[in-house]
């Protein structure tokens, strides 16, 4: 597996030899070799915790390797911090952008790389250089716009320009498409291809195999801290990569029969929400969800999906409209709370499992009754029934194959996928009439995703009404029976699942008509 085929005539931009790094007893990177020929796009895939980010952090100087050597452009290079990395021509675009929101684009680009003590000179220098970069790589951004005024896709361009401005010839992108619409992602890929043409080497970390197949020249697969394969993208397939990542064959298709919708379980009429800052979050939302169907909500995050889930689960009250959910009526005057909602047979798998879904510092058994902690099943008159709680947790763990099946282990010490399975088990176990799910597989490893999807479908088949909010279009298309698209707090479109494809959904998510005009004036 170690052998890589690349023609010796192409110089290596990056050559890592025997990189190892441990954190205490955990070996995050074990004897890793990686060779990236100059002027190529190289993908690194692997499940969560496979060690991809650690490896890139070593390359960018956040961590120092315990052993191993780094050769940049054929030269042995010591990278102790990010200054060393920048000096070696390495730039990184982080998953979470490192931008000052109330600075302009230009100010962000020159931040930390000013040419003198006085700003005026730096600004002039920087703007000429940045214009040149924009020209050369087709990276159009309005330099005078403030960061918080431009869309995420553009913010990412700013990050890219920032790296290039500092002279990067090797660009590392960590999960770059997580926050982008499919169209924005396509634009990013165009930019990356044009960078490649100019001789820039690109390393992209992603868990989306489709992107790897579209974009990269070579792929390296990591599993449990080790490199398990280096392959030419043209010689491999999504299925083969997934198998390499997980280490066993996995099924990516789902057993899903057409939905048989029955009575209405959620009925929303003219729902509106204006938040404490007087900003409108939801605007005249109306739709229904029936028993026995999965309704998906698509949209770029921050367009009101989270608020919708919060209102339906009772965590927040609405400002306008009316909701009937499994016999319960909620209006701005007649508010409800999460406990009442739960009693009415509505379960909620929250979007953010570490902030809401469980309590990281609670034991698994304590987290396994979160929201149901007042139930007589777990309480005597005064004392809690420790044994009953533990048994319940074990039951959930067995039913959803949570590993390790240890109710006393702290919730934080489970992997993301197992935490999510525990939450899903907790919410699905009482056989809810309505199931609200936010981001069911965010940060969950591939092996667990198929299992979670199958469970959601089986809840539908048992007659639950399922409302599914997800940022993954693949997921919505394969799970949902109908997909509603949200933009700016409104529903801007509805698509039957069998007619849905990423392109039409993506256009709706970006609310195509208005933004396409904007794009036109920009370019």
């Amino acid at each position: 597996m170690r052998m890589q085929d690349h023609s010796p005539s192409i110089p290596l931009a990056i050559d890592l030899r025997g990189i190892s790094k441990s954190f205490g007893a955990v070996q995050a990177n074990k004897d890793i070799d990686l060779r990236v020929p100059a002027g190529t796009i190289h993908g690194i895939v692997g499940e969560n915790g496979a060690g991809k980010s650690t490896l890139m952090s070593i390359l960018y100087g956040f961590y120092e390797a315990d052993s191993g050597e780094i050769y940049i452009n054929g030269k042995l290079t010591q990278i102790r911090n990010s200054t060393d990395a920048i000096a070696a021509g390495i730039g990184m675009v982080h998953q979470h952008f490192m931008l000052v929101e109330n600075f302009t684009v230009l100010e962000n680009i020159m931040l930390g790389a000013e040419s003198g003590a006085l700003l005026s000179g730096s600004i002039a220098d920087a703007s000429t250089e940045v214009m040149r970069l924009e020209e050369a790589f087709g990276l159009q951004v309005d330099l005078q716009a403030r960061i918080d005024e431009i869309p995420v896709g553009q913010q990412q361009r700013v990050e890219t320009i920032k790296a290039l401005y500092r002279g990067a010839r090797i660009l590392i992108l960590d999960e770059p498409t997580g926050v982008l619409t499919p169209q924005e992602a396509d634009q990013l890929f165009e930019i990356l291809r044009s960078l490649r043409e100019q001789g820039v080497t690109v390393i992209i970390i992603t868990h989306k195999l489709r992107e790897i197949m579209d974009l990269t020249d070579n792929v390296s697969v990591m599993r449990q801290g080790q490199m398990v394969a280096h392959v030419k993208t043209s010689d491999t397939s999504k299925e083969a990569l997934a198998e390499l990542m997980v280490g066993r064959k996995i099924r990516m298709d789902l057993d899903k029969t057409p939905a048989i919708p029955k009575e209405t379980r959620i009925e929303i009429k003219d729902l509106g929400l204006v938040d404490a800052q007087k900003i409108r979050r939801l605007d005249a939302l109306s739709f229904e969800v029936h028993a026995g169907e999965i309704v998906g909500i698509a949209g770029v995050s921050g367009n009101g999906q989270s608020e919708l889930l919060e209102i339906l689960s009772g965590m927040r009250s609405c400002s306008e409209g009316e909701i009937r959910i499994n016999g319960l009526t909620i209006t701005p005057q007649q508010t409800s709370d999460p406990e009442e909602i739960r009693h009415a047979g509505i379960a909620h798998v929250p979007e953010d499992r570490l902030k809401r879904g469980l309590i990281p510092r609670f034991s698994a058994s304590e987290s396994s009754i979160l929201g149901y902690h007042n139930s007589p099943d777990y309480n005597g008159t005064i004392l809690t029934k420790a044994a009953a709680i533990k048994n319940h947790c074990l039951h959930l763990m067995q039913r959803f194959d949570v590993r390790p099946a240890d109710p006393d282990l702290k919730s934080a010490n489970f992997s993301g996928g197992n935490q999510q399975k525990l939450i899903l088990a907790r919410e699905m176990d009482p056989q809810p009439k309505v199931l609200l799910i936010g981001q069911p597989t965010r940060g969950v490893d591939i092996g667990a995703i198929a299992f979670i999807h199958q469970q959601i479908i089986s809840m539908r088949d048992q007659g639950s009404a399922v409302l599914l909010v997800s940022g993954e279009l693949d997921e919505l298309i394969s799970l949902a029976d109908r997909i509603l698209v949200m933009f700016d707090g409104r529903i801007v479109g509805e698509v039957q699942a069998e007619e849905a494809d990423e392109r039409t959904l993506g256009l709706m998510m970006a609310n195509a008509h208005s933004t396409e005009e904007k794009e036109a004036t920009h370019v």
Binding site: A25, M315, I359, H373, T384
Partner: protein, 375 residues
Amino acid sequence: MSSTKQPLPAWADILLIPLINLCIAFAVSSMIIYLIGENPLEAFKVMIEGAFGTSEGLGYTLYYATNFIFTGLAVAIAFHAMLFNIGGEGQAYIGGLGVAIVLLALDQTLPFWALFPLALIAGMLFGAAWAAIPAYLQAYRGSHIVITTIMFNFIAANLMVYLLVNIFIVPGSMTPESRVFSEAAQLPFMHEILGWLGITISESPLNLSFIVAIVVSILFWIYVWHTRWGYALRAVGFSESAATYAGIDPKKIIMVTMLISGGLAGLAGLNEVMGVQHKLMLDFVAGYGFTGIAVALMGRNHPVGIILSSILFGALFQGGAELAFEMPSISKEMVFVIQGLIILFSGALAYMSKPWLEKLFSLFASKKHSETEVD
């Protein structure tokens, strides 16, 4: 993954760190004692013997410890809900006022067995009431509880001066004190209780409140870890957003927890007013409320830890007094310095040594790991 540190094993966290902190505090204290020309070892011997060597000394140590258990538990329960109650001092003071009001009003009419529970409840209620206003301001108005509880300490102190000088003072007396309660309104001393059982020990202020403190500690443990209310309390402390998701109202939990916290602090007033002084007087709280913060920190907010660290602080108070008496060159102020150092190192700087220990432990762990790897 993102951190090179490993969590410490539980025993190191609970035992090793407090011990290391104590050693540092004693080392620094030794240097100071050495600098003023006394033998540090001799000084510590005097302190330890003074605190534990005689039944009288032990009695005093446990009497101080009683106050620290109450105020320590008060800080701890608030801390489990992520609230920092600095107002134990004022709550204990006002708690004592509640005890005194009940006893002054009823000590001529009711027998001890009726007065005791009434005084106990009054102490808790008054302490709780004093915590209620900062709690309300925190929960519903967003004022920070640290600020408001500190303010309320000052308000309590001045209120008590006013009440004692103008209302409770014995007519014609020059000292701002209430009259002494009747026999029926005094908690039996431990030397009396043991005397009834035929065991003779020297006289000390240690009284029935100590038993109350132990019982309350057990109730604390049950409440926090073995009831659904404690579950809700800890849920809010760990993650307010997850608690909201679970249908727990953080505002309600803040109110309830602060009321309990104030009530616990108020019991220190029971020990002082009904147990020792047998009258209402100025400044009987004497910093016990503040020391409770260090006690709770050192005791890791767990009743067992709080009892142990209360005894340690009790020993410091008692042994320190003995030291000032035995070694004239070590003044009372010097003893405060030593107490202050211990509070500093085991309270304020409680986690100072943690990063180093974690590094040390992960070093050992990785060594072990690589050894097994080689095998």
